[in-house]
């Protein structure tokens, strides 16, 4: 059972009578819930797993707001799966964006020094 106590606080009572406080809030269609050290995000608008969906768009974009540190490929270049395409940097950490599959680079959509956002593909990959 779930009871709102106000100010984002809830009481959760399990079937065997154990109770825990939970904290929750909503942004857009997503509800963020914290119970017992665990954080859960419930978002009916995003029914698939929040992990990389396997599409090129997800794989070829920075997973966080970041600065482009290096671009290792150019248009027309053939790349194989796992090959390093772009290096981005955020919060003092370098992160490699690698080819999710073998293909040819159609275009490069970023330049060194540019601040890029998640969801924005850094390169386009032809099949």
């Amino acid at each position: 059972m779930v009871e709102p106590l106000g100010d984002g606080v809830f009481r959760v009572t399990t079937e065997d009578g154990r109770q825990r406080l939970a904290w929750a809030t909503r942004v857009g269609s997503a509800s963020w819930v914290f119970i017992d050290g665990a954080t859960l995000v419930v978002d009916p608008a995003a029914p698939t797993s929040r992990k990389a969906s396997g599409t090129d768009e997800a794989a070829l974009s920075s997973p966080m707001p970041a600065t482009v540190a290096a671009v290792h490929v150019s248009p027309g270049q053939a790349v194989s799966e796992g090959e390093l395409l772009v290096t981005v940097e955020a919060m003092k950490m370098e992160l490699a964006i690698r080819a999710p599959r073998t293909g040819t680079i159609r275009s490069v959509q970023c330049e060194v020094g540019e601040l890029v956002q998640p969801g924005h593909p850094l390169v386009e990959l032809e099949r």
């Binding site: 059972m1 779930v2 009871e3 709102p4 984002g8 809830f10 959760v12 399990t14 079937e15 406080l21 939970a22 904290w23 929750a24 809030t25 909503r26 942004v27 509800s31 963020w32 819930v33 914290f34 119970i35 017992d36 050290g37 665990a38 954080t39 859960l40 419930v42 009916p44 992990k51 997973p63 966080m64 707001p65 970041a66 540190a69 290096a70 290096t87 940097e89 955020a90 919060m91 003092k92 950490m93 370098e94 992160l95």
Partner: protein, 494 residues
């Protein structure tokens, strides 16, 4: 004592220093970037001065802006916190030139200790050995390979101007050297503006044990015992504790004496930390000098709780010319303290740093628990800065009591809006090897799978029910109906 002190930092450490100033009757001046105009440190200080745009290179790393802020507000001293300009001799020099007191070691000491190569030479002079290593004759790939071959694989590539593990690479064999060196140089250049590398032997399962040191301008140097910081991920510390379970009284005595010898040789003043790698446990263990962190450490509260001291008060007093508030004889360790660092990062996505708004943020109030934080509810976590949100520091009479208190605090510490490592910290604190004290610097990586699979209650059904309540509430708000949505939701059964 100073009348007014400028704090050249942001986040939790800026708040920590601002509060210490207030406790001593000293006025504080905060500096902030455009991203931080409403950040807690900018709001909490007695005065706040804008020093530039969000990127650190244009604000918190600009020596001239910091000095100008101090001058314009009539501050007499500058506390650099950690990170940013704290160990950059340029700020210490500029303070000296501007007639300001730099709350830290003299610039010449920062220069020596800032070079890991010079620091190793200094430690050797003090009779303290470093991990076997080699400074390559030149910075060419060939010279690095020769140095690596002489030291023997596996090796660590380290930036000479480094810190915090940035740009540090473990290389298993000669084949991986060139690629690792290229990446280490790039990261070192970006972070420190210097891509000089050196080679060190990588030990098997060493512990990271460091000693807090403190020197004053009256010739006194003391140590305030050890902190063990073996739980690290990618050389970033996650959990720190004091005392270290690996130390016997005799070994503690030897390591403390070695740390004091290094500090004395360096002419060290104010708070600092001598880092060691510990090979083995007990009286026969060997320890190797790593480096000196010439500043207050992130994990300083662990020492404060166990030794019953206030290191920031002492920093201010010593910088103002007072003698150390304690002698070695006054100091003792009592009980056990454990610190867990809460980061805005997603353990399920390779611990990627997260940015965004803290939609809900509530700190627990529990016995024996101290929380040092630099964020607030509705505050923005920026991509520009370190993802450290706060530190949960728990004290207990025993290690297990401290551990249980840290766990309870994290279980009641809701942070919503950005992903955090809270669940991951709980898995670490609960892992059999941490409970047994059987830890080393490779534990987090070697136990990654076990930690990720740690048995936890599945709260997804409860979360779904709460989400339904929230959704009904927002629908209710939109339609402005007076119906009570709670009564129509029914009971959730888990």
């Amino acid at each position: 004592m100073f009348r007014r002190v400028l704090v050249a930092n942001r986040g939790e450490i800026a708040l920590r220093v601002i509060r210490a100033c207030r406790e001593l009757g000293v006025e504080s001046v905060a500096v902030y970037s455009d991203a931080d105009s409403m950040a807690p440190h900018a709001l909490d200080a007695d005065r706040a001065v804008r020093i530039g745009p969000a990127p650190p290179a244009d604000s918190y790393l600009r020596v001239a802006s910091v000095i100008e802020a101090a001058r314009s507000t009539g501050a007499e001293a500058v506390h650099p916190g950690y990170g940013f300009l704290s160990e950059n001799p340029a700020l210490a020099h500029a303070c000296q030139d501007a007639g300001l007191t730099f709350i830290g070691p003299p610039p010449s000491v920062l220069e020596t200790l800032g070079s890991k190569i010079a620091a190793r030479t200094l430690a050797a002079r003090a009779g303290v050995a470093a991990v076997p290593g080699k400074i390559p004759a030149t910075q060419s790939d060939e010279a690095l390979a020769a140095a690596a071959a002489e030291v023997g694989f596996p090796i660590l590539l380290k930036p000479a101007s480094g810190g915090g593990g940035i740009g540090m690479k473990r290389v298993a064999d000669a084949a991986g050297l060139a690629a690792a060196a290229a990446q280490a140089r790039r990261e070192a250049r970006a972070a420190f503006g210097d891509d000089t590398l050196y080679v060190e032997r990588a030990l098997t399962r060493p512990r990271h044990v460091e000693v807090q040191i403190f020197g004053d301008s009256h010739g006194h140097v003391v140590h305030l015992f050890e902190r063990e910081c073996s739980l690290q991920r990618r050389h970033q510390k996650l959990i720190e504790e004091s005392p270290s379970v690996a130390l016997t009284p005799a070994l503690r005595e030897r390591m403390g004496a070695a740390a004091v010898a290094v500090a004395t040789e360096a002419g060290y003043r104010n708070a600092g930390t001598v880092e060691f790698l510990l090979d083995g446990t007990g009286d026969d263990a060997r320890f190797y000098f790593l480096e000196v962190n010439a500043r207050l450490q992130v994990e300083h509260p662990v020492t404060e709780l166990v030794a019953g001291v206030d290191l920031v008060h002492a920093q201010l007093r010593v910088a103002a010319g007072e003698p150390l508030p304690w002698t070695g004889r006054d100091l003792a360790q009592r009980g056990h303290a454990i610190e867990a660092r809460v980061y805005a990062e997603d353990p399920e996505q390779g611990h990627l740093p997260q940015a965004g708004r803290l939609l809900l943020y509530r700190e627990p109030r529990l016995p024996g628990v101290r929380i040092d934080s630099g964020v607030r509810e509705q505050g923005e976590i920026s991509v520009h800065y370190d993802p450290l949100l706060s530190k949960v520091i728990a004290w207990g009479e025993t290690r297990d009591a401290a551990r249980r208190r840290a766990i309870e605090a994290l279980r009641r510490y809701p942070i919503l809006g950005v992903r955090t490592n809270v669940r991951f910290l709980l898995s670490l604190l609960d892992s059999p090897r941490f409970v047994a004290g059987d830890i080393d610097v490779g534990l987090v990586e070697s136990e990654a799978a076990e930690l990720a699979a740690a048995d936890t209650t599945d709260w997804s059904a409860a979360a779904g029910a709460i989400a339904a309540v929230l959704e009904a509430r927002s629908a209710c708000a939109v339609s402005a109906t007076t119906a009570d949505p709670w009564t129509t939701l029914g009971a959730w059964r888990g």
